[in-house]
Symmetry: C4
Subunit: 270 residues, 4 copies
């Protein structure tokens, strides 16, 4: 982005698609506020008592947001060199689907279609991710998660096997009379229990069932340490092994990232 | 604090505002006990059965505490050089607001105003922080939290997005009949579930809802590892780079424990 | 596996018992799908409404799976040199027990025996482990767990003692009227509480009981850190002492990354 | 323990008070089994239905255990040089108090005194600790806990302040109609919520209360990382700094615990 943009299209492109100019940052902040406002609108609409009182306010606000998003959508298409690249991208589809429902509501009237349109409008949540991609910290988090993805996957795989076994055992012990009406429902219980959520909608009633439940939660308590250990060690490793450069004179490595001289022999590092 | 305080004002200032003299430490301990006692008083007053039995005891104790706090407040103003600096500081405002309610109760009588005055009195909790600032360990904790603030913020931001998406999905699946009466309420459920609290006041009833709830809690189980990993690695990092020795030439510090030469200027460390 | 297998028995053995040939991998994948399908079948059968509607579909699918497993079982016996080694192994017994119930259902008809046979069929879950032993990541997890087994055991031992003490105390405070009908039931409550599951089926009703419950959960909150710390430090340790190089003289391994001489015999490492 | 014990008193002392001889280990194992059996007996007695059926069995078993413990108690007094040192030690008092209830039950008959005697008998749980002091791993755990005691204390102190503030706020928002009948009860709720236990016996009913509860649990979710981080970093530090011995030739330190030669210069370590 060293060369200056020449015409208005290139200027707008920089504002809309990038965040390294003041104007670009302001655009992102305004967009984020509009997205958050639009999400709050859909939520409030779903609260019946609120919707009955302030229906007109919600309707007008929704139109304002919709028109703002329409302008953004058109500008994004106009300022990009290959419009198709944006339109069929993940964010392009999200932008389109979350903007049209209000226009569609002019044609389709009825309580059932309204629910479907509201669901579409909630896709706006994904727009938030579009803005958040500029946050530096989030890249680090995603990197650490990616690095420990395989291990967490294997961990969840074993958790699921344990839950299936425990759920099945509880189904045979407690039975339908105590709320364990089927194996999938028992597995739902064992997942809710092992993860220490514990709704209490299904709870063991027989002494034997309570004994096994106790063992289950203690197992859950001990193995919750595993994913934490995985992510912790992944992050700690990153912090310590930050530099693999070796000294040209004594070939010692493990230098701090901001080191200019070898900590062992004092030779300048390049 | 090398030079001795000359008059009684300076002596009192040292006792009240500092903790490095025996008298100053005793003042802090007595103040802490008075604050804790005053908090317990407000709590007990809210227990109706206790208030009915021991109303006079509570009333008298409250007056004793109020007068003690009034004396402390006046002394703090008198002994400081610029009283306005204390009066309009955070702790000055807290001290004032949590002391006056008892005096106001002489003028305003009525059950409704009593509730408001009790709320004011509970601001005394913040006085505890004034005393706890002398605890060395708390500074370390706050430093570690500050260092990982940005990452935990980004983490909570993603947790909120996940909760909004999951809450919305559950609202469409379960619907108002099963307790998911609005999207905000569904998001409340998804937050309570993902954080493994699981009250059970709202719980999925349909098999599909239970299936999604199971996935939600397993996600919550896996991602609880992330903030832990952040704080752990932040704290572990501190422990390993412990060396606070500074280079005799360029005064850079933070050398590795086994460093023989400064990583910045190459001078030999002694 | 350098020498080529000569006859069909050796070829089949390689496909069934090993996973380092394309055919062997395909066999494992197909087997895994069959096992998962068979588990889903048993689950669906336990859902009464589903079983009533699709009984024939479930019955036929069950027969298909059973015949597939029978063929696998026979092939495993035929292709191995010492059949008894497989038949009386853990997986051999699991394979046998989880395959025969469908054949037995031809002779024993009755709701009670069906439940027992379903329980037998669920042993198929353990078959999944047979396939998962090829996942590299799982070996690492199991190794880390083994290394911290003793410490987690001691930790759970102390958790149990705390739970017995707390449960007993609550039994005397709350008593049978508030749901704490016996000491084992109170211990069940203290385990469910300390591990932060919190069903809510038993909850303290007296102020003193609620006070002790508050202390219990805060203790639980503080000590949940311990198993996590154990596993984290175990995993972090692994990462730092990563060197698998072995000494050319005494063949000791586990040298520090920056070691120049063997720590056991003093030979220079290359 | 190099010199051989001469008379039977010294021999018995070694068996009873120490665990480094085969007889001493066997004594500890038998004692542990007897203690566990005695705890199970008290538990089973509290289960009314079980007590009604097997009252005689429980009574006889209780007498056997009591006589065994009496013999152990007398032997401990006889074999020690200064009996007062044992009698008034923590374990001596526990041993005495948990043994006499059965004898007292001969004189005091009545349901109320039985409950008090049962409470006394449950002190046997502490006897388990007497045996467990020989477990090496437990010393490590206790050391790690001791090292991070101050930090965990400060952490719990802040958690309590947060709980008092949140509990008070919820008391004013939800009020007595929604179950938040007093400030202590609201604080009980906030502790149960922040620690992610979530019984559900008290749950917010108003939208504002649910909003604040959501923020509470998210705060709880983020700060659960802190004690974990404290313990993890404490344990990781221990593992890495295991040896502070320095090489006599090159004075390098940080050797592995089982190192026999310096990893830097190859000199034999003493």
């Amino acid at each position: 982005m060293d060369k200056k943009p020449r015409n208005w299209k290139e200027k707008l492109h920089e504002v809309i698609y990038e965040a390294d100019t003041p104007a670009g940052k302001w655009f992102d902040i305004i967009l984020l506020i509009a997205i958050l406002a639009s999400i709050v609108l859909v939520m409030l609409e779903s609260v019946e008592s609120f919707d009955n009182k302030h229906h007109d306010f919600l309707n007008i606000s929704e139109w304002v947001i919709t028109i703002l998003f329409s302008i953004e959508y058109i500008l994004r298409i106009v300022t990009i060199q290959k419009p198709s690249k944006y339109i069929f991208s993940f964010y392009g589809v999200i932008d389109f689907l979350s903007t049209i429902p209000k226009y569609l509501s002019l044609f389709f009237v009825g309580s059932h279609s309204l629910v479907a349109l509201r669901a579409l409008r909630l896709l706006r949540v994904f727009r938030v991710l579009k803005v958040s991609r500029y946050i530096g910290e989030s890249n680090q988090l995603i990197k650490a998660l990616n690095a420990s993805k395989a291990k967490i996957g294997v961990f969840l795989y074993f958790v699921l096997i344990i839950c299936i076994i425990l759920g099945s055992v509880m189904y045979f012990i407690e039975g339908a009379d105590n709320g364990f009406t089927s194996i999938p429902r028992s597995i739902y219980w064992s997942i809710v229990t092992l993860t220490t959520v514990g709704y209490g909608d299904i709870a063991p009633q027989t002494p034997l069932g309570q004994f096994i439940a106790s063992i289950t939660v203690i197992i859950g308590y001990a193995i919750i340490a595993i994913p934490t250990g995985i992510v912790s060690s992944e992050m700690t490793k990153k912090k310590i092994e930050l530099n693999t450069q070796s000294c040209p004179n004594c070939s010692y490595d493990g230098h701090k990232d901001d080191a200019e001289f070898c900590y062992h022999c004092g030779t300048k590092l390049n």
